[in-house]
Amino acid sequence: MIRFEKVTKRFADGTTAVDALDLEIADGETVMLVGPSGCGKTTSLRLINRLEEATGGRVLVNGQDVSQVDPTQLRRGIGYVIQHAGLFPHRRIEGNIATVPRLLGWARAKIQPKVDDMLETVGLDRTVAQRFPHQLSGGQQQRVGVARALAGEPPVLLMDEPFAAVDPIVRARLQQEFLDLKKRVRKTIVFVTHDVDEAIKLGDKIAILKEGGQLAQYGRPVEILARPADSFVADFVGRERTLKRLALMTADSLDVTPGNPVDPDADAERVGAAAAEAGQPWVPVVGEDRRFQGWCDSRRLVNGHTAGQLAGGLSIATVGPGDTLRTALDAALSAESRSVVRVDAAGNYLGVITLERIAEAGLWS
């Protein structure tokens, strides 16, 4: 876990890059630092591996104040990827990737397979291992940059505008690969970008910073889109644009997920099983008449009670085929399950639309 506690960074010339920043990043989470230039996002990132030193407050990595750790040792345990890849031009690709394992004193027999493994992880052919960086395309170099950052098996990965210097087509592909990669490697990732679309697409959470290094809002992408903290955030994320797009689309344009509905008489055991299968704690309760009766929280249902008893008190909003996605978004946001039930024209239960699915539709269609 990474935690910023009232962290301030003032430069010698008097400018404040980061101002009393509080931020908590959970293990395995991808957090995007986004904002206009001069908002201190890159400085904030560099405070984590002490490429910059805080002038106030403290940064904790795994509970340890980084200012108390030897910077060299600290950095060997934190992967770092930068915009221009920053590969060592005089080292072959394999030498670049092996940098941190060598610094950590790994045995040669362990390093070689690791290099091959990393090349495969980032989708590069093994034949590039013997080339020099300048013999690779920009996109390939960026992949090597990621491979080099991951080779030392750090639990934390810092990325500073890694995809900003490649052309849009390559960028889109690298972004998709990043999404696949982060599922596989399970790292805590802090990712700086000035591109809000990239932040929404890649992040589990987004921290929006404004000029002068202040945190404007921190939350999941859909939450920020749906409930921006202020007009700065709303403007910055282009909320109007997204909402307009959603208002033009209808609920039947999205596929539903089955949602594993239970009947009102279901007991804790059955609700628990349905929730486990669905992969989320909230289960829709649907009566024999195929009407949606509400959401049941499998975690709160105790033995002896039934799903129907819990469902009643909660949001029972549904959307029909003619409703817009804007309506669906509002319904999903007001439901604790962060989902909305989709019904057919006659009001019969069809399935579930998640908030993520709606947000995606608004952003990417």
Binding site: N49, Y80, I82, H84, F88, P89, F132, Q135
Partner: protein
Amino acid sequence: MELIRWSWVGRHLDDIGWLFVEHIQLAGLALVFGFAIAFPLSLMALRWPRLYGPLLGFTGVLFTVPSLALFILLIPYTGLSKATSLIGLTIYTLLILVRNIVEGLRGVSPHVLDAAKAMGLTRTQRLFQVELPLALPMIMAGIRIAAVTTIGLVTVTALIGQGGLGRLFIDGFTRDFATPVIVGFVLSVALAVVVDLLLVRLQSALTPWHDEAGR
């Protein structure tokens, strides 16, 4: 009158050989000493950038002192010795070497240095594993210029009784006899050309990444 009297050359092969070796020794040692002094000076200039201006100014002034005058100035201290010759020759390499080492190290991409630091290389590791290898083409360029210049300059020290092949010039001049002058000239030029070519080869071998980089 023939241009070169081969019989003289044949009779003095031993002497010519010795002078040739001495020539290489003087030039080689001056380069080694020059680098040994220029390298720490350059690192200081990088660490404290304010030093760089005065340092270049000082070595620049030294560079402009006419060579003969410099040797004559040194004679009261070190006499007509090899030391006098070496000190003078070494001084002349400093400007070229300091400037190329500093510019070479300064030319290393800040992105690469940033990455090296972020990977957890210590200051010393960054210098020897990243900065110096990347500055090598520029440093080698300096060494080549210094080497060729010094090989030519060695002949001047013949006037203080050293000078390697330069002594053939004096010999030929005093006796109004062209052969030693031509032999000394040809060998001196040949040495400079061969050394330069060898240094180019050495650089290619040391910087395989650089050849195709176009930088």
